[in-house]
């Protein structure tokens, strides 16, 4: 409990970003939904069409909707030029706006449809024009219902905005994702508390606006509205300061190692006098393009990931050749500078519990071929789509009885509890040592290498100060040191460390 209180004051920035994002999305959704509702009230076709489209959007999971805007904006760059941001605020705003559309639109359309026809006839009868009718009768009589829709939209949007973290937009999702990843529950709870609190406050203020309009008490809705405006303005003001692009932005994908390395990089840059910002919890798929487009400046990526996902290669020329090909390709195609390899690999591997492996007599992937149909394999959500898995599956003819998806951190728990017999593991993962797991051999060499590389965006690719500050990291981190740091963050006992502490310790051990 104490920990949570300690975390809360540090979330001010995230809260402000969250408020600005949510308010912008709701504001934009209103700008779209309200005129659309007016149009819909005059055309049943538009009413049906717009409502079905808005409902369709709701059936897309928010996480997927957010992720979909990345490729969309990327393709729109051919129209709007390279300056179009593909990550961060813009896609988050667009996705959340679409998401907020339905409740506002539905309530506005329903309110219009339920207006007393006698009153509408009276409006015509006393000689109102269309616009006078809209402004003097339809809008005021629909307002309480529309406000109720806006309230619903606000609560949804504030909740869904936590997912903006995954596309590089700071929000209250940052502590939630970081906490989930590093099993820092205080962080998760703090993030959830603040975001739930924000939703409650917004709901309550908008409820006052709604009541005020309904009871025709101007002071009531004006006061509540002013509180909303003040909150958003305050958030905006606190966001506006220090927004110059001197800041170096460091990415971290959604696993502990990435959080630690981001901190390690950040600490070195800060020591060299740079201001840094972290984009934690990014979806793995967006990081590469984010660096290529300089939306983000520094990331740590892995040779095998780039090899299969971006070079679209399925062959395996060996560790050195693969690295050199990637380094040249990145510079040539994207202007991204691969500064070098950190020294360890975070390759895919297959791990089993010692006792289980011994009982089944399995030491290598080849031994699994005959046993697989009776076993369950666990992998992270993207694993079973990856070419590595397909390569291994085909090389050894593996047909598992069942395959299940787990978040990376929970895979080890699943192995311990017997919910999975074999899991896809990562060679740098601290829990391989901690849980005394057996890493299965790969006699066919089906798994490519996964050297961790330091990637610099085109924007800072030639920055001598940055390069000088980061050069010492190259080749400095052994797989044992990385495993230890990962374990320190993932463990749940008294020796648990934050990514920041683990990064400091890692720097010390590496002699930096």
């Amino acid at each position: 409990m104490r920990e949570i209180w300690d975390i809360l004051p540090g979330l001010g920035d995230k809260l402000a970003a969250h408020v600005v994002l949510s308010a912008s999305a709701i504001g934009l959704a209103m700008l779209i939904a309200l005129p659309l509702a007016v149009w819909a009230s005059r055309s049943p076709v538009i009413a049906r069409l717009s409502l079905s489209l808005a409902s369709l959007v709701q059936t897309i999971p928010a996480l997927a909707l957010l992720a979909l805007f990345f490729p969309l904006l990327l393709s729109l760059r051919s129209v709007f030029g390279e300056g179009l941001p593909t990550l961060g605020f813009l896609p988050a705003l667009m996705a959340l706006t679409l998401y907020a559309l339905l409740p506002i639109l539905r309530n506005a359309v329903t309110a219009q449809a339920n207006l007393d026809p006698g009153v509408l006839e009276a409006a015509d009868g006393v000689g109102m024009t269309r616009w006078q009718k809209l402004a003097l009768v339809e809008a005021p009589l629909s307002a309480p219902f529309i406000m109720a829709g806006i309230r619903t939209a606000s609560v949804w949007t504030i909740g869904a905005a936590t997912l903006a973290t995954t596309i590089g937009q700071p929000s209250l999702g940052d502590p939630i994702f970081a906490g989930l990843q590093t099993q820092n529950w205080a962080l998760v709870v703090a993030g959830c508390l603040v975001s739930a609190g924000l939703a409650l406050v917004a709901d309550w203020l908008l409820w006052w606006v709604e009541r005020g309009i309904d009871e025709r008490k101007r002071w009531k809705w004006a006061a509540a509205l002013m509180a909303v405006v003040a909150g958003v303005t305050g958030a905006l003001a606190s966001q506006a300061e220090g927004k110059d692009r001197d800041t170096i932005i460091i990415a971290a994908k959604q696993f502990s190692e990435q959080y630690i390395l981001a901190q390690l990089i950040g600490q070195r840059l800060e020591a060299a006098g740079y201001r840094v910002e972290y984009r934690d919890g990014l979806g793995s798929a967006v990081v590469h393009s984010a660096v290529a487009s300089s939306s983000i400046d520094i990331s740590v990526d892995y040779t095998g990931t780039i090899w299969t996902n971006y070079l679209k290669r399925t062959d395996n020329p060996g560790r050195e050749a693969m690295y050199r090909t990637i380094r040249d390709w990145e510079m040539r195609e994207n202007g991204v500078r691969v500064l070098g390899r950190l020294g360890f690999e975070n390759a895919y591997a297959f791990a089993m519990r010692q006792d289980r492996a011994a009982a089944l007599g399995v030491t290598s992937l080849a031994d699994l071929t005959a046993k697989a149909p009776r076993l369950t394999i666990g992998g992270d959500p993207e694993f079973f789509e990856r070419p590595e898995w397909i390569a291994v599956r085909d090389a050894y003819g593996l047909g598992f009885g069942r395959s299940r998806n787990f978040a990376p951190t929970f895979m080890y728990n699943a192995l311990q509890s017997g919910e999975a017999d074999v899991i896809s593991a990562y060679t740098s993962d601290g829990r391989i040592a901690a849980d005394k797991l057996v890493v299965l051999e790969d006699p066919e060499g089906a798994l490519p290498s996964y050297d961790a590389m330091l990637m610099l965006s085109p924007r800072i690719a030639g920055d001598k100060g940055v390069i000088a500050a980061l050069q010492p990291l190259i080749g400095a981190i052994s797989v044992e040191a990385m495993r230890e740091a990962n374990l320190a963050v993932d463990r749940e006992d008294a020796q648990k460390q934050t990514p920041k502490q683990a990064a400091e310790e890692l720097a010390r051990k590496a002699g930096l």
């Binding site: 007393d116 006698g118 009153v119 409006a123 009868g125 006393v126 000689g127 025709r216």
Partner: protein, 260 residues
């Protein structure tokens, strides 16, 4: 002696809604100062014909002349100030106070009604000036329709058109309000057209009764003539209802406490 030109003239008015012919070629003149009741079964086209007067409905054929000019040629805002309209559904704006409801017509024309004028209009329909600040939901049905009448009179109209104005009211209120409107008709020198499906009301209030049947005007008689048997089958069927009721009531009176 020359007859004065009619204030309102329907000239072959026809209104079609797709397949439905709501009004089929109605022609008739309404003299200034007359109180005309328009009677007919539900769906016979009364409301549609009435709405052609203030152009809420535009005829598919024929025309409506108001003071000699085609209503469609007049600016709608000006026209609707000269024609007061009382609705069947009353149609007070629930988010406006009584005063705001009454003042809406002039307000749309850019004129602000002073409180004295509101009080005067309320007095015309026998409501206390204190009602000006009330909201419609704090009024009884009869009071609401009084406000509806005051609203129709606010612009100082020459013509008052009413579409089943008392349909939703209880018999006592209905009777009182009917008399009040007739009285206002006299004192303000109005021309009034009132749609009703109640022949008794038409006979008691109007100088002249028009009967519509399936979009056509089938009778145009004075109340006296109708009671005497003129106007044709449809009109007589409508007139027979109040006549028989009156006879039965008279018979009941003659029998004292009745047969039991």
């Amino acid at each position: 002696m020359e007859t004065p030109p009619p204030l309102l003239r329907f000239d072959g008015v026809t209104c079609r809604f797709g397949e439905v012919t709501a009004v089929g070629g109605v022609s008739c003149d309404i003299a200034a100062g007359s109180f005309v009741a328009l009677v007919g079964a539900s769906g016979s086209g009364k409301s549609t014909l009435l709405k052609t007067v203030n152009t809420l409905v535009t005829p598919s054929a024929g025309r409506v002349l108001f003071g000699g000019e085609a209503v469609t040629a007049l600016p709608p805002a000006r026209l609707r100030r000269r024609v007061g309209y009382v609705f069947q559904g009353i149609g007070l704006f629930p988010h406006f106070s009584v005063a705001e409801n009454i003042a809406i017509g002039p307000r749309l024309a850019g004129e602000k009604l002073p409180p004295e004028r509101i009080a005067e209009l309320l007095a015309l329909v026998e409501l206390d000036p204190a009602y000006a600040r009330r909201m419609p939901d704090a009024l009884s049905g009869g009071q609401r329709q009084r406000v509806g009448v005051a609203r129709a009179l606010a612009g100082g109209p020459e013509l008052l058109i009413m579409d089943e104005p008392f349909g939703a009211l209880d018999p006592l209120t209905r009777d009182a309000l009917g008399r009040k409107v007739r009285e206002l008709h006299e004192t303000l020198g109005l021309t009034t057209v009132m749609v009703t499906h109640d022949m008794a009301e038409a006979l008691l209030l109007a100088d002249r009764v028009l009967v519509m049947d399936r979009g056509a005007l089938v009778a145009d008689e004075t109340p006296h003539a109708l009671l005497a048997g003129a106007g044709g089958a449809v009109a007589q069927r409508l007139a027979s209802v109040p006549r028989e009721q009156a006879e039965r009531l008279a018979a009941l009176e003659g029998l004292g406490e009745g047969p039991r």
